[in-house]
Amino acid sequence: MRFVYAFFIKTYLTVMKMKNWPPTALLGLILLITIVLITAIGPLLIPNDPYMANMAERLSSPSLTYPFGTDHMGRCIFSRIVIGSQATLGITVLVITTVILIGIPIGLVSGYIGGRVDSIVMRLADGLIALPEFILAIAIAGFLGPSLTNLMISVVLVKWISYTRVVRGIVLSEREKEYVLAARVGGCTTWRIITRHLLPQIISPVLVLATLDVGKIILIISSLSYLGLGAQPPAPEWGAMLSDGRPYFQTFPELMIYPGMAIFIVVLSCNLIGEGLRDKLGEKSI
Amino acid sequence: MTISVDFTQPLTNDYVKEETFFQSLPLLEIKNLSISSLGENKKEDIKLVKNINFTIKSGEMLGIVGESGSGKSLTACALVGLLPKSLKVTEGQIKLHGRELLNLSEKEMRRLRGNEIAYIFQNYQGSFTPFIKIGNQLIEALRSHRKISKLDAKKKVLIWLERVKLPANQVFTSYPYQLSGGQLQRAALAAALMFQPFLIVADEPTTALDVLTSENILDLLVELQKEYNCAVLLISHNLNHVLKRTDSIAVMYGGQIVERGLTNEIRKNPIHPYTKLLLQARPVLSRVVPEKLVVIPGEPGLVAEQGCAFALRCPKSFKKCSILPKMQSVGDSQWVACHAADLEADYTNASS
């Protein structure tokens, strides 16, 4: 647990030290904070029960009662999007955290200690790289069966390796630098070298990688849900909502436009932040 | 070694190379040159090189010595028009054969580089593209500047590789990574000299090389320079190299030339406190090893904003040093900019 603690504290400090954010990143940050706030206080905002079907008012246009109108089951689209953000964002955060917590330690060990761990990790990475992420995620999710948990597992399985690769690469180049040699000569244990000297060097690249990945992960989750492999009806989730709206695409495009816009805004804001971070932290390689 | 006369003569050149004509005139004249960096908001510009003057004659080797940040490399870059975008020449003139170089267009400057002024970098790996054979790179360089058939170019390249004492045929077909640093720097020397430039700018040419290798390469440079009577501007932080080989020296500190003159004069009789300390504050091989080395106080970055740049580190500085000292001639072939030295000179004049 010390490791996890150290990582988050150091991440926090890295972010706090930065000044003069570029305006685009600031815009992304404001957007994201707004969305997170809406997600948090969502249940207080919604005018209707997102699960309550009302066949009498199905596919109605926006009105005061239904700000975005209703879907094919007569449920309030606005309420469903607000509540659906909990699923989408929640899963994303969980996935990213898990991926980081798996990817970094393995990358550190594999890069610094090398040996058998390293060769296994690298063979695995080569194998995973050969297959497109998305296809692989579909295959795993399909194999495990449709549910939110399985969806998360499949995304984590697909994603962790890219973090391990990045971390390993940095560690390989850093471990030969004189300050690491100096630490070894000064009697540092391997554990201490990894946590004290190497970990801080990988925080900023991982941070950048993670923010840029948030968008991709949301898209994967939504796509899998769209294919019916993720959230199961009637649970609101943006990807699943897109999927639900598909038969009415021609007559009632709003059914797809609203969840599509929601996904678009979140992905956009994450990418804006990620690019801002990348420029700020000077991680040009990612 | 057989050399056909054709290949050692310049093939085409806009300017007739009549050495007799230029003998009396300086080849390169730098007058009052200042270089500033444009700050981010383009308002405050920091002067990095401050009003420097020097000249080089054909066949002369001038050494510029100074610490990092003294502006010696910037001067060289300005000379060949390779200053980074954030830096600008704000004042002064650079004249080659009386022709102002600062007004030349980028295209004219490109023609001039290589053809009339050659540049040898510190980073020998950077002078060649890693995945093209040395021979082909040299031929390409030759053909981009001169109208010459491929076969002739190859002959010429081989001759020059031999000139710099490399196994010509082998090096010709090698990739850069197959050669050692010394060999690469020799090849770079061949690349520079095969155009028979008027001036070679060598910016720390041997810093990355071993002691014996650098000695050999510098010896070769001197040898070829004598043979072709071109001028060399040797920039180095290694006093030893410069003292050993140059005809004259300019010592820079904080963007100013603090002392210049004939190498022998300066070695025997340094006048500026910085030059004096530089000569003393380094271990020198001798039969009697000193117990302690003379130390220049402070750090290289310590440059006075006003007046003499060295004033903050100078043991002899006094009130007047906050005013920029003028270059004064001492004897026939030595110039120094130092108030303390002036004072001493006055004193000795008065007493004698």
Binding site: K177, E178, Y179, L181, A182, A183, R184, V185, G186, G187, C188, T189, R192, H197, P200, Q201 | E67, S68, D210, V211, L212, T213, E215, H237, N238, L239, N240, L243, K244, L277, L278, A281, R282, P283, V284, L285, R287, V289, P290, K292, L293, V294, V295, I296, E299, P300, G301
Partner: protein, 254 residues
């Protein structure tokens, strides 16, 4: 104190060191000189234990590093410390100066050097004392490496090196990436510290003049072979190896 016996080392098929043998006494300073690739830096890495030897033996104070494992090895290693060549790379850019300096002392909490008696539990005080020893004042404690000049960083590196009061301090080209005007400062500092702590120096350099200034004896390496080993005062003697003579020739001023 240090015994190097028939040490060989090769990377893949290229041999870097062949059967190198020499000894060092406590308080003595030995200069290793040679071109790049002559194996002098590899020698240093073998002595500190950053690399494993292929053949031969290195013993320090009677202990064979190759046979020690784990905690024993760590304990033995503290008697050798290193000052690295590149002051820009040898300090962790993310740590303030004082943390870098006292890191070895944190790693060996049992070691109490004579000059740190009484303040062994006060980390800042220890860092302050060490900084003072290398001629930097306490204002530097909180600075980060990027705020220092090359000479100042090298001083910090030296402070870290002497913290454990090692028997042997290996100086791997400590001045070669510094400006001329700073080299003398650092060489003088190293010489003073050596006298103060009666340390032995293994001084690695490609510059004959600095080696002559710093060392009692000089070992000349050529392509992994120790070709010449002599007292510094015999540097100009006629019996020197031809290679040594060439190096001297290249360094003397005409």
């Amino acid at each position: 104190m240090l015994q190097v016996e028939k040490v060989s080392k090769s990377y893949r098929s290229t041999s870097v060191l062949t059967e190198v043998t020499f000894q060092m006494e406590q308080g003595e300073s030995l200069g290793l000189i040679g071109e790049s690739g002559s194996g002098k830096s590899t020698m240093a890495k073998l002595i500190v234990g950053l690399e494993h030897l292929d053949g031969g033996q290195i013993t320090l104070n009677g202990l064979d590093f190759q046979q020690l494992r784990g905690a024993e090895l760590r304990k033995a290693r503290r008697h050798v410390q290193v000052v690295f060549q590149d002051p820009w790379a040898s300090l962790n850019p993310k740590l303030p100066v004082w943390k870098s300096i006292i890191e070895p002392l944190e790693n060996y909490p049992d070691v109490v050097p004579s000059f740190l008696k009484g303040v062994r539990n006060d980390k800042r005080k220890m860092a302050e004392i060490l900084l003072e020893k290398v001629g930097l004042d306490r204002d530097f404690l909180e600075r980060y490496p990027h705020q220092l000049s090359g000479g100042q960083r090298q001083r910090v590196g030296i402070a870290r090196g002497i913290g454990l009061q090692p028997n042997l301090l290996i100086c791997d080209e400590p001045t070669s990436s510094l400006d001329v005007s700073i080299q003398a400062q650092i060489l003088n500092l190293l010489k003073e510290l050596k006298k103060e702590f009666n340390m032995s120096y293994l001084f690695i350099s490609h510059d004959m003049a600095s080696v002559q200034y710093m060392c009692d004896r000089i070992a000349v390496f050529k392509q992994g072979v120790l070709v010449d080993l002599f007292l510094s005062k015999d540097l100009f003697s006629d019996t020197r190896h031809p290679y040594t003579k060439m190096l001297v020739q290249a360094t003397v001023e005409r």
